[in-house]
């Protein structure tokens, strides 16, 4: 018997089941990850596991054109990680700018109230 036609598809099916379980576990980890960077690490790992799954499907289904899909999927997974990180850095910078602005406005209000309070006390002590 030829092992490449009888045993290899079973091996591939088992490998795909293990990969799917890994992807589900990583999805759960991505869901409960406390912060943005944990989630992006999880997305990166899910991309790798999906590429492995597609590559297993190439031989399991004997469809060679799925290979091109795996290449494109690897590229897009990297692009997704790059865009998500850049977006989060931009959001954080905007948050810092807003925080600095509001702190400065608080400082100005505080100075103005201090001045008004001092004037009132001065007038009161005069009269």
């Amino acid at each position: 018997m030829d092992p490449l036609t009888t045993l290899a598809p079973r091996m591939l099916t088992g490998a795909m089941v293990i990969l799917a379980a890994c992807a589900l576990a990583t999805l759960f980890r991505t869901f409960i990850g406390p912060r943005m960077s944990d989630r992006i690490v999880g997305v990166n790992m899910i991309g790798t596991q999906a590429v492995c799954l597609i590559v297993c499907l190439v031989l399991r289904l004997r469809e060679d054109w799925l290979m091109d899909i795996a290449i494109v999927y690897a590229m897009f997974s990297f692009l997704a990680v790059a865009v998500l990180t850049k977006m989060d850095i931009g959001v954080y910078r905007q948050w810092r700018i807003d925080q600095e602005k509001s702190r400065r406005r608080h400082q100005e209000t505080r100075e103005a109230y201090k001045k008004a309070h001092a004037d009132r006390r001065h007038r009161r002590s005069k009269s």
Binding site: R29, M45, T48, V55, D64, A74, R93
Partner: protein, 134 residues
Amino acid sequence: MTIHWIRFILGTICLLFGLFFLVSAVIGNFRFKFALNRMHSAALGDTLGILGVILGICFYHGLNVTTVKLLIVVALVWITSPVASHLIMLMEMTVGRSTAESGGEQSDEQGFERGTVEMRRRALADIKKEEEEK
């Protein structure tokens, strides 16, 4: 037929090697606490895991155009994975809420932004505190 058995055994060894690294990457992702530690296990799956799986598929498939494309996928992932790790590290260092002393908690400092009433109340409280200190 013998060459088929050799190819099958070599491919199975490579496939199990890659699956071991992918599963250990998932276990590491669950057991590590911070994102900078998790990047380590994710990089393990990105390099050795995908190399093992794709080498196993290559042994199963034989020499073909598809095999060359499979190796192109390995090269692509090996080029892009360090760049992705670098970007995640850059984000982690810029956002900077992942250090051990903060414990992953986000500091709640944006209490300033609650309208002018809150600002007036805080300013008056500050002035009163300063006067009491005098």
